[in-house]
Symmetry: C2
Subunit: 259 residues, 2 copies
């Protein structure tokens, strides 16, 4: 007995190397992959609070999965610094702290600065077109949301986030280093944890900050192959970090983090 999967499941012939963007239709190929994606999303949006223990039984019920795929996913998330764990005492959501956001921000700047420089050296017409297109799509979404009076739909916030991500990826896309691209990707997700609560939570209407102008400046300098682009990008990230650090009431440093 014990039917493992409800139906024969989506017959994705392709499969796809992990780490690739795609998947598109038909969903994740394995339950482990699905667990990874859902868990990561839930951590990033704050569905689990920082530092909160992640008990396997609870996760099993929440996602309707068995231990094996969950453990795999948690293992993977741990190596991406979204989850912490101690030997025989289980997993917990990685804590948030000033030190962490600063380290993540500065590391991200180090990685993306280099990636941006290389992209500017290697970038061709397609690269430029990709950046312009991504910027435009992002602007449209910003425009649309600024028109809305009250609260913005969650779906729109996700669309916004997606386009923002896409824009920043376009800038460095032609650096020709798999490692730099992967690191930038991970650091984007790590910092997302810090940005999103601030973003969903509150200051939506009164956008004190003109992020679009910053993005445009970065784009212009980048297309002009100017080293200034690197400085602007770094400033952009540092400003974001500063705003977040100011807006969060950091929990008092406690000795016992996990569990």
């Amino acid at each position: 007995m014990a039917v493992h999967r409800k139906a024969g499941r989506n017959a994705s012939a392709a499969g796809g190397e992990r780490g690739a963007a795609g998947e598109s239709a038909s969903g994740p190929a394995t339950l482990g992959e699905a667990a990874y994606q859902r868990l990561r999303a839930d951590i990033v949006v704050g569905a689990f609070k920082a530092g909160e223990p992640l008990r396997l039984e609870a996760l099993r019920q929440r996602y309707g999965l068995s231990f094996s795929p969950l453990r795999e996913a948690l293992m993977r998330l741990q190596s991406e610094r979204l989850v912490a764990s101690t030997a025989l005492r289980g997993f917990s959501v990685a804590p948030l702290s000033r030190e962490e956001i600063e380290d993540a921000t500065e590391t991200r700047i180090l990685i993306e600065s280099e990636a941006l420089r290389r992209s500017m050296r290697n970038g061709d017409d397609d690269w430029e077109a990709g950046i312009v297109a991504a910027f435009h799509a992002l602007s449209l979404q910003v425009e649309r949301q600024s028109k809305v009076a009250g609260s913005v739909a969650t779906a729109d916030l996700f669309a916004m986030e997606e386009r923002h991500h896409h824009f920043h990826r376009a800038l460095i896309s032609h650096c020709r280093s798999p490692r730099l691209l992967e690191l930038a990707e991970r650091l984007y997700v790590e910092t997302q944890r810090y940005r999103l609560p601030n973003y969903f939570g509150g200051v939506l209407g009164q956008r004190r900050r003109d992020a679009t102008a910053e993005h445009r400046e970065i784009m212009d300098a980048t297309l002009g192959r100017s080293e200034e682009a690197v400085r602007l990008l770094a400033d952009h990230y540092r400003k974001t970090a500063a705003i977040i650090e100011a807006s969060i009431e950091w929990p008092p440093v406690s000795g016992k983090a996990a569990r």
Copy 2:
């Protein structure tokens, strides 16, 4: 029935956060951790050839473990780029290539350059003492091995490797960035795969390269808080990469990598 572990196993009360150095006595706390360490060691020393499929049944027999801890370990190794995998087609040893060693080397230089600069800014007396001590220990080992006539014992090669690693870690140890340290660590292991075969395999007696002199120069410039240290370190890594690239007969580019 089905006794899980032979005996009650070593009762390591401590446990220890993963990623920490220690463990010292009493071995890994969990079988998953043990699998990770053994598998990683076997991949790095080339016990499994690059590109070779890692079949679970074979691993199960080799290490006397069940699937779960093995999969966990493989998952972890994949996120460290030592293992590749495709959705439902299993794992394989990550391939070696010119592109990879170049990317790894340049990324390592990017990371360690920044880490070294910060260490030079932050470093105190203990930091300096640590570097001097590590250099000295490394020199002693080099000295000892150069005296030996014929082939050197494997244990000595490992001791050498360990002290070399320790020296490079000492240089950047005070950068105050957990991420940079972790990345440097991972890149060290990644590049180890390329260095070791060359190291074990052949040119032991006729050390054409005076690595000790290079190390001393790096140390001196570092202790003198000179930016020159960064340049020397980068040269050191690029030279190593160049030697390796020259000494390896690269396999012809084939389309099908895994399995």
